[in-house]
Every structure is written in C-alpha cells, then in structure tokens.
Amino acid sequence: MQLVLEKRAERSATIALISPLIAIGLTIATLCIVFAVLGKNPIAALAVYFIDPLTDGYSLQEIAVKATPLVMIAIGLSLCYLANAWNIGAEGQFLIGAVAGSWLAVKTQGTDAGHWVLPAMLVLGAAAGALYALIPAICKVRFGASEILTSLMLVYVADLLLDYLVRGPWRDPQGFNFPTTAEFDPVATVPTLIEGGRLHLGSIIALFVVAAGAVLLGRTIKGFEIRVVGAAPRAARFGGFNANQLVLLTFAISGALAGLAGIIEVAGPVGHLQPGISPGYGFTAIIVAFLGRLNPIGILIAGLFLALTFIGGEQAQIAMKIPLDVTKVFQGILLFYVLACDSLILYRFRLISSSPKVQSGAH
C-alpha cells in the first residue's frame, strides 16, 4: 500500500472551509505536547488559554480591542496576497501610521484645537502608512526589487524612527525621562463605546473595513482584477489588467489600513506614543490573513481567534507561569499547519495498492 497526493479536478469548497479548523486542531494537539514538556497539565493550560478569556466581560472587550488592529491589517494584507504582492512589512506601516498621527496630537497638545483633530490624525495615519508601503511597491515595479525583503527591512526603520522621536523631540517633559509622549488630549483620543470600558470606536471602523473588503473582492471588477492577477498573471494581462498598477494599489490600501490601525491603537487603548505599542500585530496579521483564507469574513473570525491567544497567553503567564513566548510559538505552528492543510484544497490523499493484482477485480 502506498499513500499518494492526488490532484483534484476542482478545488474542494468543503476543504477550503474546514482546512483552518483542521489546522487549529493539529496546533492544539502540538501545543498539548509543548505544555506537557513544560511540566504543565495540558487540559488546565488549554482551559486558561481558550476558555477563561471567554467567561468574563473584561476579557471579551479586550479580545475585541486586540482583534481590531489584527483584522484591519489582515484585510489589507489579504488584498496584497491575492494579487501575488507580498507585503511582509505591515508592522512598519502600522508604526509609521502611529507616528504620523501622533505628530498632530503632539503639535496640538494643550491648544484649544477642536474636534477636527482626531479625524485629521486618522487621515494622516492612513496616508503615511500608504506612502510607506508604496516604497517597496515602487521598488518592485520600477527595479524588480523583492518586496518581501524591502517591506520587511522597512519595519526596522519605522521602529527606530519611533524610538528616536519618543526618546528625543517628542518626549514628555513631565514624563520622568520615560520614552513616551504626554497623554493625548481628549480631542485627540478615540472615544470608547462603553463608559469605563476598553471597547472603542476603532472596532466599529474595523467592522466597516471587513464589509468594504467583502464588497470589493466579491462584487467589484477591481476585486476581480486583484484575484486574477494573483491566480493567473498571463490571463490577467490578456484580460487587460495591469499587474504593476495592482501591486501599487494593493500595497497602498494595505499600508493605509495598517497605518490607520496604528494611529487608532495609539490614540485609543494606549493613549500616547511609546515604543512597544505593538506586540507584533503586523506580523500576526499575516497569520490572520491566511487562517481567514484571505476572505474578509474569515479574517474577522481568525482575528478574534488570534486575539484570544494574546489574552489567553497573558492569563496563562499569570495563572500558570507559562512563558508568554508560547503564544508566539502557537502562532507560528498555526501558520505552518494552515499552509500545510491548504494543499488539501487542491489535492487529496489516496491509498493505492502497489501490487497490481489487488485491483484486477475492480471492474
């Protein structure tokens, strides 16, 4: 007997839906082994990770707060990936968006600037993210530079720029030399949705982005162009679609969404600019995009799930002294399994007999 991977005539819609679930199952199984090796009770650890955060209101709000940037970034990334443009630098675009929006907050600090400040900050954040993403996109289109490398390297540039600003020119004079800006004024802060809660307007914007993404991809000719360019580049050119133009467009959109997520994060849950505003949202969003099948609704679900792992990871560290890095291990293993399970959409396993005689009575 022999196990072979056989090509399917059509992509399997069923597998496309359940492949992420298989991947999550395999990841959890692997995680159990990791917990056992760490000397923890796997069942108890899983409960802390995946069940406990769902049982109290504070954690639920926190999941939504963490999912907000993940979903917004992942929607943008999914457009890039569908168009075969590999933006790996959403983390950098997120940080640049945060920096650009914060500039206005810092400049208007203590003045009597009105309610135009926050909308202007959001626009600045999105515009800066888009421009920053266009750097690798233009390098790719004009010079053939690998956007994977250039977009990734620009993450570190953005990170160091933010670090310089909050340690230098923008540092809060009353901040006891901590590398942070002063708390933003109320007009420069994203309003919360529940009095005294953490849930904020950004989550509504994220839902709007999901809806817009779904319409763009599913209903418009532009969305069709993005999908064809990625799926069959030569057919796309025959269709009259310009791949280079779409690289620029998808990078700009994904950069804008990452930048918007960045300024919302700073002007919302964090409240000021400081290093470490992102626990790696821009990278985790890559996993969210693939786990969500590059589909907006899928991304919403996947974003909530990965936000859960952030919260669960924090709680597991407090309750069971499991290192926080296990969360990153989890996310890495998950991406690995998602990509592996995806091959089942186009292929299937088949047991075949290696001895010809067994099949002789088959027909």
Binding site: E6, A9, E10, R11, R219, T220, I221, K222, F224, R227, V228, A231, A232, R234, A235, A236, R237, F238, G239, G240, R350, P356, K357, Q359, S360, A362, H363
Partner: protein, 523 residues
C-alpha cells in the same frame, strides 16, 4: 485485406515488443484499458487516436516513465519490468518527445552528453555524434549553441541523441507537428532507413495521410481502449478517422458566397523587438484583412507567431499608433481593452493560463474578456447575472459539455474549454477576430464546430485572422494564406492557388528575403 506491404510477414513470429493487457488507472479513470500491442522488427507502427485517447500514457509506460497498474510488457518474448527511462534505454528502447528537453545556452554536443550515461570521453562522444548524424543524413554541428538552431534542427538533436544509444525500438511522438512538409519528407527517409536496418518504430500522429504513407501497421486507440489494429494503406483517411472518433465527423461547410467588404484590420510595417532575449523580432510586417475574409498565417512554431499575436492583441504595445489599424482606428498604442472596445476579439494558443484563469469559474472567465464592453460591469460592480448568461449562451450555442452550470475552467476537457473560449469571443459579435491555433489539441468533433464557427463569423461580415501550424486546417477555412518565417511575413496568396510545396518552401525560409544568417536576427 491486402497485406503485401506489411513488414510483419518477412520478420519472424516473435514480436520485438509486446504489451499484454496493459492498464493504467488514475483513481477511477482508466487512461489505458487492457491494451495489447505487438511490434515487430522492421516495422513502422502508427499509434493513432484523438487527444485523451491514451496514446501518451501508453508510450510513457513503454518508456518506463509510468508504471502500469496491470498487465505486462514483453521484450523479445521475455517479460520485463521497467523502473525508469534509463532501464528502457538499457533494453534498447529510445524515445523522441514532442516537447524537446534541451538547454538553449549549451552546445549541441553538450546537450547530447547530458542525455547519455557519461562514461564516454566528451571528445569521443562528440566525434561519434558527428558520425551518427552524417550517417543518417541528419546534419548537425556539435559546437553550435541550441538557441541558434531552428525547430527542425532541434528535433534532429533529439533524434540523434536517441540513435546514439543504438536503440532497437524507437518511439516518436508527433514528430512532424513542428516540421515543414519538406522537412517531414526528409524525416521519413531517415525513418525508412532505420526500418531497413531492422529496427522498429512506434510513430504517434494524428495526420492520417502521413500514416498511410509511412506506416506498415496502425493501432487505433479511443477512450483508453484499443479499437483496432489494421494496415493503414488498406484504409482510407475517412475510415481511419471514423475509427479514431467512433462516428462521423460533422463536415465543415463554407457559405456559398461571402461578401468581401472594407478593410477591418490593417498592419503597416510593424516591427517589434522582443522582451525575451531569445524571442523573435517582428520585421516589417504588413497585411490587409477585409470584412468577410479569413486570412491564414502558416509557419513552423517559434517563428514569431506568438510575438505577432501579442502585438496585434495589445499585450505588447507598438510605439507607432498607425502600425495597427482596427476598423479604421489607429490602435498600435492602445491597450487590449481599448482594442476590444473597437470591436476586436482575441483567442490565444494556450487555453489554460492565457485564455482562461484555470482555477476560476467559467462566469469569471467570461468576465475576463467581457468586462470591456456590454453590461457585465456597472459602475465598477460586477453583474453576476450577465456573466452567467454569457456562460449559458456559450454552452447552448457551442455545445460545451460540463459537469455543472458554472465549473472551474481547468475541469473542462481541452475541446470543451476551447469551444467555451471561442464562443465567449464570437458571441460578442467582433468585427475582427484574431485567433492562434484554434484547434490545437482539440478532438475532431470540437475542431469541426470551431472551424464552422470561424467560417460563419466571416460570413457574417467579420474579418478573421487564423494562425495555425496545421496546413490542412488553413486549406479548409482560409481565403488567403501567408507564411511566417523568422519574424517576417510573406505576401498572402489565395488559398486555392497555394500548393503545399510552395508553402513548405516558404515555411523553411527559402523564398522570403531572409537575412544573411539566422544568427543575426535572433541575437
């Protein structure tokens, strides 16, 4: 059945190679179903069948590339198991593939060396290469790099490479598909000589006249099964075709009279340098195509047909707008979408990946070329109902067979997908249709439907440009024929006056003013 010409008589009873009940299964699909084949020494044995009949699977099994699910292969009466092509070669089985496996940047000798076992010193091998090629009348310069050679010369490398292993049995997969008629004649001389030396040849083809001329025996496959083994010289081309197809083929009928009207497509001194360094430069191409007319472009593959299609379709733009005029509008600088808006339609050679996105549904593939005009897109939004309607109309008009209403393009058979693509373009009522290899790799039934559709389109007043390597096809449907060679196009001549010999000479570059050396044009 008169069997006087068959070689089988004067060569003993033991076949050189025999397959007994050879079966190959892919899942529930039977690519080969219990095939018995006897090949004797000194025999040229034709393997006939439509695309998908199982010819390739059968020869790949005999060459050791595929392991059979059932049945066995006997070599000189003894059962053998072939673990791979090198095993087959060790027994004395050689094969020349339809698609060459040559490295463009290596010399002839280096390419041959790569295909041999490598125990022989390079210098000796090179000398033997020259000797073998001279002996069989297949002249080759071992020191030339492959990219400088014509397709016919490249095929010679493959044949010489196979002959250097001194095979008793040689398999040739559609060898004349890439040759001019004269080159094919030369090949037949070589094959007859190999036969006289006592070797056997399995000759895969779908050109029935050729088979009748060359082959002693013919085995016909259909749907994975052997239909018949016969003497092709005792059959007519029509009776062979019936066995291949399993029924009568629709006859293509040209309209009694077609109104030749105004020029719909003008090409004025079009020259274009290729992006690809080994591509073909288009040189001063000019022709005029009128409404109601079908112009054929013949030529061996790789002489600039793909480059011409790209230039005419707008996938590559010309600098001077006036070089291409579509229905009275200068279009050389216009994108493919703008040209479609002028009423042009295009059908490329590659169905999957160029004409369609393989993993997208037919409705989405209708949108691929249909978005330019009509009601498929409104204010940037896709009108799904309109795209599905195109699929349904195409299915109905062109008899596209598919498992469900809107499957992925890749799940259709070649013939049905080609009917879909042709239908998709024709139902838009184009004034100019430019089509490359309209029936390449398509079953005879679908090919007839497609040729008829092209004739009907022209009868309706459209101008049709057909590029094809199949001279029979061009003879059947075109009004005038031009020949492409090294990026140049000969002056079109009326099809009725064009003899195969003349066309063959033009395809070989004889009477077009060719540049001094092919080297210079390609560099």
């Amino acid at each position: 059945m008169p069997d006087t010409t068959s070689a089988a008589q004067h060569t003993g009873a033991t076949p050189l190679l025999q397959t007994v009940g050879l079966t190959k299964r892919y899942g529930s699909f039977l690519a080969n179903d219990k095939i018995d084949l006897d090949i004797r020494p000194q025999e040229i044995h034709a393997l006939l069948g439509e695309n998908g009949a199982g010819k390739s699977t059968l020869v790949k099994t005999i060459y050791g590339l595929i392991q059979p699910s059932e049945g066995e292969i006997r070599w000189q009466g003894r059962t053998i198991v072939l673990s791979g092509p090198s095993d087959a070669r060790a027994h004395g089985i050689g094969m020349v593939f339809q698609h060459f496996s040559l490295f463009d940047n290596l010399t002839v000798a280096e390419n041959v060396a790569l295909g041999l076992d490598g125990k022989e010193p390079f210098k000796d091998m090179s000398a033997r290469l020259e000797q073998v090629s001279r002996t069989y009348g297949l002249p080759l310069d071992p020191k030339r790099e492959v990219w400088q050679l014509s397709v016919g010369e490249r095929q010679r490398i493959e044949i010489v490479r196979a002959l250097m292993q001194n095979p008793q049995f040689l398999i040739l997969d559609e060898p004349t598909a890439v040759l001019t008629p004269q080159e094919a004649d030369q090949l037949f001389i070589v094959l007859n000589r190999l036969k006289a030396e006592g070797r056997a040849i399995l000759y895969i083809s779908h050109k029935l006249d050729e088979v009748k001329r060359l082959c002693d025996t013919a085995t016909i496959l259909r749907g994975g099964r052997k239909v018949e083994t016969c003497n092709p010289r005792a059959e007519t081309a029509a009776s062979l075709a019936r066995m291949m197809v399993g029924g009568e083929i629709m006859e293509v009928k040209a309209a009694a009279s077609r109104q030749i009207t105004v020029p719909r497509l003008l090409v004025n001194d079009l020259s274009l340098t290729p992006d690809d360094p080994h591509g073909i430069r288009l040189e001063h191409i000019s022709f005029e195509l009128r409404g109601g007319e079908i112009l054929g472009i013949a030529g061996v593959a790789g002489n600039g047909q793909d480059e011409l299609f790209a230039a005419l379709s707008g996938e590559r733009l010309a600098k001077d707008p006036g070089t291409i005029v579509i229905d009275g509008h200068a279009a050389g600088h216009l994108s493919i979408t703008r040209r479609r808006k002028l009423g042009a339609a295009f059908i490329p050679e590659e169905r999957l990946g160029h004409g369609t996105a393989p993993r997208m549904r037919l409705s989405e593939n209708a949108l691929l070329t249909g978005h330019a005009i009509g009601n498929m897109v409104l204010h940037g939004f896709v009108n799904t109902a309109a795209t599905l309607k195109t699929v349904d109309r195409t299915t109905e008009t062109f008899d596209v067979r598919k498992a469900k209403r809107d499957p992925e393009a890749a799940s259709l058979s070649g013939g049905n997908l080609q009917k879909f693509i042709v239908g998709r373009e024709i139902l838009r009522d184009p004034v100019v249709l430019i089509v490359n290899q309209p029936t390449w790799g398509v079953d005879a039934g679908a090919a007839a439907v497609i040729r008829q559709a092209l004739l009907d389109l022209a009868a309706g007043g459209a101008a049709v440009l057909v590029t094809s390597q199949d001279l029979d096809e061009l003879a059947e449907i075109t009004d005038r024929i031009a020949v492409m060679f090294h990026g140049r196009l000969s002056a079109p001549v009326p099809t009725a006056e064009a003899s195969r010999e003349t066309l063959g000479l033009l395809m070989g570059g004889s009477s077009i003013e060719a540049p001094e050396t092919p080297h210079a044009t390609r560099a």
